[in-house]
């Protein structure tokens, strides 16, 4: 084998690296390595002159491999691999030695940090000496998209993608699309009717020739990888044929089962057979099999008897549908933090203590009280209403550490809506501080205080309980230092947002990461906010973190733009750093087959075989194999061995 000619490029990253690591000494040390033919340091290697100098050095010195010692490969691996390719050598002969995140940023002592940077860089040099010149694998892509979740985020993403000409499959767990936004009465900061702005979009989804809508459906299994996912969806039976149903509503009249209506958060009731609300999309009834007496004409059968259209079919079965798509947008949304967990506010057992969404339903013209604010216990107009912010949020000791972001704004909105409904009523808001960043937001809160005369009390409520037909609220006004006692007719809790149950399930099925609070993790908090850590899977809306409607819509459109970009050509380049089987060592024990998260390995004639298109090069197989019979190209046993040896050499 002819001797390798590796070039080492040491970046100062301004002072990010150079302040802690002696970069010129590092460059000199690397020049002394056996396989290194060229070594230099430069202030910003990722700048245009820096990059050009890499390309020139490769050409002039006839280099066959490159090590750039700089920041995390997450940031500039692609940059420098592209440079290597531009200089005429394989991009996969370029490796990054991370001496910033893993060295200069975490150490203070210059000598020790320099010694460590030398080891990190030397191990990369030894590794790259055995790198193969690989070329990317071109993979044909499926130019279809799946959007999971039919709230405003999913609706917006679906429409944007479909309008760009790509086919979209929109999967929604519930019987209708619309999500939480449909439960809202008005929206801040303009107080326009939520349903009025959302339902046209819902109709557009249902009529769009490029969108296939699958409601009452759940994603069960996802295999494949970016460009070529295969998704198994379970379509639950609604027992009503939407084509035949004439929406006459006769069935709900005769249905004997009365259960709380989820759409109104239990403030009203519905029958076992029901339509979630008049504008539901698809416009059809659903027979909820959990509450139905038994889908059996002998037990009940009243709805089937009365249905003249013959739309009801008790024998409808769940259906599994398989869809092939190239990209997936996850928009599975949020749930409210459960009131049961707020013990100090009665754990949901104190009458006339509502959560924010219930209050929205009280204000909504389509809600329980037809838009009149009446308290649930006696249907009387409440005259003193207390709104409590940050319930469950910003409370690392007991509940969620994070700020739910939208509560300041919707509480101001609630107070204003209440005052518009009950002009002689008194609204009190307990707050920690007011976070009203956003266009027109601060003005909105000011109007709640000034025009609508809401009393803002800076402090927390320690306790509330039922007393003499009212709710006694004990709190503190920290600005005056006085304790406050209010006998309220009604209390509204601004409960924290948490990732929805569906978000949790989606994360499991899609095998995408979640952050410490359970929201879906983005690939980079600043630069890749709509990408998940898995290629081809994008995030939109509150599944990724608390956000309001404008932000959700922006993020959904951003995710759509990413999807459209990804699927803009017929093939995708797949990294060639995939697993390779050493057949002589393989005993066919199948452990790698089980361990592979991408289902990329199968057994053929008793030996493991890798599907290179599905393989993401994660190395799970290699770590599991007891006999080193499978390893990832350019991260071979030999390379790892050399790297460890380089680190242990003093």
């Amino acid at each position: 084998m002819t001797k390798k000619r590796t070039g080492v490029f040491v970046c100062h990253c301004g002072t990010n690296i150079a302040a802690t690591v002696d970069v010129s000494r590092l460059a000199k040390e690397m020049a002394g390595e056996e396989t290194v033919a060229f070594s230099r340091d430069y202030v910003y290697m990722c700048s245009d002159p820096g990059q050009n100098s890499v390309i020139e050095a490769i050409k002039e010195n006839n280099l066959d491999s490159v090590v750039v010692t700089c920041c995390s490969p997450n940031l500039h691996e692609k940059t420098f691999r592209d440079n290597a390719a531009r200089a005429g050598i394989s991009g996969f002969t370029c490796e990054i030695a991370n001496i910033r995140e893993q060295c200069s940023w975490v150490h203070k002592n210059r000598d020790e940090a320099t010694a460590k940077a030398i080891k990190i860089s030397r191990s990369a040099v030894r590794r790259v000496a055995r790198n193969q010149s690989l070329e990317p694998i071109a993979v044909p892509v499926t130019r279809r998209v799946m959007v999971i979740g039919g709230g405003i985020a999913g609706i917006q993403a679906s429409l944007d993608i479909a309008n760009a000409g790509l086919e979209v499959v929109l999967v929604e767990k519930l019987a209708t699309i619309g999500g939480h936004m449909l439960q809202l009465s008005e929206t801040f900061p303009t107080l326009d009717c939520s349903q009025c702005i959302l339902s046209p979009k819902m109709v557009e989804v249902s009529r769009h020739p490029k969108i296939t809508l699958m409601t009452y459906s759940e994603v069960q299994e996802v295999s494949g990888a970016v460009g070529n996912f295969r998704v198994k969806i379970l379509q639950k039976p609604t027992y009503v044929d939407p084509e035949a149903c004439k929406l006459c509503d006769e069935c709900t009249v005769v249905c004997p089962v009365v259960v709380p209506n989820e759409h109104d958060l239990g403030l009203t009731s519905r029958r076992a057979i029901h339509i979630p609300f008049a504008q539901a999309i698809p416009a059809s009834y659903t027979l909820d099999e959990d509450s139905c007496l038994g889908l059996n004409p002998i037990r009940c059968g009243k709805c089937k008897d009365v249905c003249e259209a013959g739309a009801i079919n008790y024998d409808m079965l769940p259906k599994t549908v398989v869809e092939d798509v190239g990209a997936i947008v996850v928009a599975t949304g949020f749930d409210l933090y459960p009131q049961e967990k707020i013990l100090e506010y009665g754990a949901g057992n104190v009458e006339d203590v509502l959560d924010g969404l219930q209050f929205e339903r009280l204000c909504s013209a389509s809600g329980a009280t037809k838009g009149h604010v009446l308290r649930p216990s006696d249907q009387k107009e409440p005259k003193d209403v207390v709104f409590i912010q940050c319930v469950g949020s910003r409370d690392p000791a007991q509940h969620c550490a994070y700020c739910s972001k939208i509560c300041c704004m919707y509480t101001a909105k609630h107070a204003r809506l209440y005052k518009h409904h009950v002009p002689d009523g008194r609204a009190y808001v307990f707050y920690i501080d007011i976070r009203s960043g956003g266009k027109g937001y601060e003005e909105f809160v000011q109007r709640a205080m000034e025009e609508d005369e809401t009393v803002y009390l800076r402090g927390r409520v320690s306790k509330l309980y039922r007393k003499d037909g009212k709710v006694r609220v004990l709190g503190t006004d920290t600005l005056t230092g006085e304790n406050v006692e209010i006998d309220a007719d009604m209390v509204v809790l601004a409960l924290a947002m948490q990732p929805s149950k569906g978000t949790e399930e989606a994360a499991k099925v899609l095998k995408i990461g979640r952050d410490k609070d359970g929201f879906l993790a983005e690939a980079h908090p600043k630069l890749k906010p709509v990408e998940s850590v898995t290629g081809g899977i994008y995030l939109a809306g509150c599944a990724q973190g608390p956000k309001d409607i404008p932000e959700t819509v922006s993020q959904a459109s951003a995710a759509a733009a990413k999807v459209i970009g990804l699927l803009s050509s017929d093939t995708l380049n797949h990294a060639p750093t995939v697993a390779r089987v050493r057949r002589s060592h393989c005993t066919g024990c199948e452990m790698c087959v089980t361990a592979c998260p991408y289902k990329a390995i199968r057994l053929e004639n008793g030996k493991a075989v890798v599907n290179e298109v599905l393989c993401e090069g994660c190395g799970s197989c290699s770590a599991t194999c007891l006999r080193a019979a499978i390893e990832v190209k350019n991260v071979t046993q030999l390379q790892v061995f050399d790297m460890i040896e380089a680190c242990l050499t003093v």
């Binding site: 050493r582 002589s584 060592h585 005993t587 024990c589 199948e590 790698c592 061995f641």
Partner: protein, 343 residues
């Protein structure tokens, strides 16, 4: 209690009908006891078979050898091979099948129950017999009967049984084609992992010191590896000298053998060898205890393997050798797997 004639009849019958091509079992050793493994291929050899408290060898090892022999000779198996299996042997067979090393239909398992007792530990017998040399051992209810020059000596089974058998909860081969003896699954004469629990009363420093001393004595004879049915790899990570060379092995691979562990028997390399072996046995070791029994310098290797087994049981509810179709410990991941051990 199992009548030896039943075992012999079963084996004879299977061979006579051609249902198996051989039966792996035990026969009397050259000096009577202990028994030794035997492969019989003709019905008339069935009378050689014995079943006594010295049948401690894990016969699954010979299934591995059979498969290797067939593979090297490029032969197909034909009829299945019969094997007489104790609880631990059967568990080992299950793990091997779980790893696709051979198929269920390739093996005919004649299960034998250890019932109320198990196998002897020879050093315990020697201590009790006070110099007398036994020439035969037999099950006798709660006792073992030993034939010596001075006549029969009976010893309480619990006094002379191997630790592994005292702690065994599964002295019955769950996986079998035919089983002889009573199913006493769940019995353990001593608490499971009792020896390990006793060892762990020592401080961390004492334990480390203990293991350093033990591994310093290891002569790297590899008896533990040779006797282990799970150590069936063609090339073991510790000796790159035996690198499996196949037509597709590249010149570079041949030139660049990795020496993760040096072959010389020095403490640091010995420690790495034993640690690697213990980790490679996690979720696979069925606690047959053979490695510890064969160690010529008496390193208590069961402690290492037991530790891994107990961790797997307590943290993941995993029992090696429980079912052929079940997931293997290291390759399976569940969302609710505890992560407390990641620090």
């Amino acid at each position: 209690m199992i009548n030896i004639q039943d075992i012999r009849d079963t084996a004879r019958d299977l061979l006579a009908k051609g249902e198996v091509r051989a039966v792996i079992g035990w026969r009397a050793g050259s000096r009577g006891m202990p028994a030794e493994p035997v492969v019989i291929t003709a019905p008339e050899q069935a009378d050689e078979l014995v079943w006594d408290p010295t049948c401690y060898h894990n016969l699954a090892l010979h299934l591995v050898e059979d498969r290797k022999f067939l593979a090297h000779a490029r032969k197909t198996a034909g009829a299945p091979i019969g094997i007489i299996a104790k609880g631990c042997d059967a568990r080992a067979i299950v793990v091997l099948m779980q790893e696709n090393y051979f198929k269920r239909e390739d093996v005919y398992i004649i299960g034998v129950s250890c019932e109320g007792s198990g196998m002897i530990a020879e050093w315990k017998v020697a201590r009790q017999l006070d110099g007398a040399v036994p020439t035969a051992a037999a099950f006798a209810g709660d006792e073992f009967a030993f034939a010596t020059a001075a006549g029969e000596k009976r010893l309480p089974a619990r006094e002379v049984m191997a630790d592994r058998c005292l702690e065994c909860r599964n002295p019955f081969p769950k996986e079998h084609n035919v089983a002889l003896g009573e199913d006493k699954t769940g019995r353990a004469l001593e608490a499971p992992f009792a020896a390990l629990a006793r060892f762990e009363t020592r401080s961390e420093g004492e334990r480390w010191e203990f293991w350093q001393r033990q591994f310093d004595r290891c002569i790297r004879c590899f008896a533990c590896r040779s006797v282990c049915p799970m150590c069936y790899c063609e090339e073991c990570v510790v000796d790159s000298i035996n690198i499996a060379v196949a037509p597709e092995t590249t010149a570079e691979e041949k030139a660049n053998r990795i020496r993760w562990i040096e072959r010389s028997a020095v403490k640091s390399e010995n420690i790495t060898y034993h640690m690697t072996r213990a980790i490679h046995l996690a979720g696979r070791c069925v606690d047959c205890g053979e490695c510890e029994r064969v160690c010529p310098v008496n390193i208590p290797l069961r402690l290492l393997n037991n530790k891994m087994e107990r961790e797997a049981r307590e943290r993941f509810g995993y029992e090696p050798g429980a079912s052929i179709g079940g997931p293997s410990l290291v390759a399976s991941f569940r969302d609710d797997d505890p992560g407390a051990f990641i620090r």
